[in-house]
């Protein structure tokens, strides 16, 4: 049984039909990269998976937590979100909290962990992203790359089953991209289930088990990245790869 599965997902922005029946299965430990042109619905798809965007039809299931149009109340959403971590393009660290507090907040207030438990987890997660020594620093004292690594640690502290990465290197200076990608690379190697939207095609080819090409609100072509890049099956994907170079 897949860890993440969506079926018949539809989403409208007003009259704009942005997701037109998405069926996507992600197995445990799989690394899936969603690519496509701007406006193809890839970010929207990612954001529906943890309920940041509502859906107009369809089902989302993640490790037993289920969300559909009729069952999307606060408790359902929170049950789903406890299974899913998310990292954003703009990091979205809480500026009034130290790095440690950023990571400990959800374990404290959502999981009601004790002081010692949550501090232990926060320190573990921060050392996993190579920032153990920044526990007491504040977000504005960190570089963009470091902030993004803290954001990853913050998501991991809730022990999610799957991590969503929404263009997490797009807001970074080029020289800071690699430190973040290295963290993701390591997570993938450790068997973390990842669903990413990214423009880093080389990286996507390297770490992904599955590539999903979205076009006009549908999954237009999907498969193993090496094969897809070598032999695009649709003219749209061929065109998309062509436009990258």
């Amino acid at each position: 049984m897949p860890l993440v599965s969506t079926n018949r997902l539809h989403k409208f922005y007003g009259k704009n039909h942005v997701l037109r029946g998405i069926k996507l299965d992600v197995e445990e430990g799989e690394v899936v990269t969603i690519v496509g042109r701007s406006g193809s619905g890839k970010s929207t798809l990612l954001r529906t998976l943890n309920g940041l965007e509502s859906i107009d039809d369809g089902v989302i299931e993640v490790d037993g937590a289920r969300l559909d149009v009729d069952h999307a109340d606060g408790d359902t959403l929170r049950a789903l979100r406890q299974k899913i971590g998310m990292v954003f393009q703009q990091f979205n660290l809480f500026p009034h909290l130290s790095v440690g507090q950023n990571v400990m907040l959800a374990p404290q207030v959502v999981k009601k962990m004790t002081n010692a438990e949550r501090e232990g987890i926060a320190r573990d997660m921060l050392s996993r992203v190579g920032l153990a020594e920044k526990f007491d620093a504040f977000p504005d004292q960190l570089s963009g790359g470091q902030q993004q690594r803290v954001a990853i640690a913050r998501a991991l502290a809730m022990s999610p089953k799957v991590l969503l990465c929404d263009e997490i290197t797009s807001a970074l200076d080029p020289e800071l991209v690699n430190e973040v990608l290295n963290v993701v690379r390591r997570l993938a190697a450790e068997g973390m289930t990842l669903i990413m939207v990214t423009h880093e095609m080389r990286f996507a080819r390297e770490v992904s088990d599955k590539l999903v090409f979205m076009h006009e609100g549908r999954i237009h072509e999907t498969g193993h990245p090496q094969e897809m890049f070598a032999r695009p099956a649709t003219p749209e994907f061929a065109n998309f790869i062509g436009s990258l170079n």
């Binding site: 979100r81 899913i84 703009q90 979205n92 809480f94 009034h96 400990m104 907040l105």
Partner: protein, 223 residues
């Protein structure tokens, strides 16, 4: 100019001035603390349109921001007894201060909450925080930090406005000044000294608010 200044009487009335000053400080502290509390509740009720508070707050805010403080005070002190609610002067004065500041701070704090970047709320949601947890841990402190200077000014304005409470015989600083002046007819000296006390108090309140604000702004551990 034939007028001879004479401030020599002031030490004789030191006790009364001190009483009036303490009364004014008391009104301001109670009005400020409870009023800002009401403002925080009002701001979030308005922002999320919580029923029934969101609408109640809307009418309350409009009512108190569009009527004179003196009339509000009279309505509470002279009007409410007709409905069976009798308040003594200090109670009526505090209630008027609280309601007045509460209305203004509702709007000030709401502006601060509204300025929360959407990404902050999304990050909190994606971590499975509830709406209230998001408000309490993610939105409130940065919002207060943003509007703290405006809120501080409003507290000072409310403190200055408390002089109106002399009209219902609440024994605050202006009431005391009126009383002393009616005894010795040294109007200039009495009100000059009173002016200086208000001025000093306003500076002190700004300073106090700055210190309180620093605790909101300062980087301190949670809980």
């Amino acid at each position: 100019m034939a007028y001879q200044f004479d401030f020599a009487f002031i030490p004789d009335y030191a006790g009364m001035f001190a009483h009036g000053l303490a009364y004014t400080v008391g009104l301001t502290v109670a009005g400020g603390a409870i009023g800002i509390g009401i403002g925080i509740g009002g701001a979030i009720s308005r922002l999320w349109n919580l029923r029934p508070f969101g609408n109640l707050y809307r009418y309350y805010v409009e009512l108190f921001r569009n009527t004179p403080f003196l009339v509000q005070l009279f309505l509470i002190f002279f009007g409410l007894p007709s409905l069976g609610i009798k308040l003594v002067e200090w109670q009526a004065a505090i209630l008027a201060m609280v309601l007045n500041l509460g209305a203004y701070s509702t709007e000030i704090i709401r502006a601060g909450l509204q300025a929360t970047p959407p990404g902050q709320i999304e990050a909190a949601e994606s971590l499975a925080l509830t709406r209230w947890q998001t408000f309490l841990y993610v939105m409130l402190r940065p919002a207060l930090r943003k509007v703290w200077p405006a809120l501080s000014s409003q507290v000072v304005i409310t403190m200055l406005g408390s002089s109106v409470c002399s009209q219902i015989s609440a024994e605050e600083l202006t009431f005391v000044a009126n009383f002393i002046q009616s005894r010795n007819f040294r109007a200039f000296e009495t009100y000059f000294f009173t002016t200086a006390m208000y001025f000093g108090l306003a500076l002190l309140i700004r300073q106090a608010m700055r210190l309180i604000g620093r605790h909101l702004i300062v980087r301190r551990p949670l809980s």
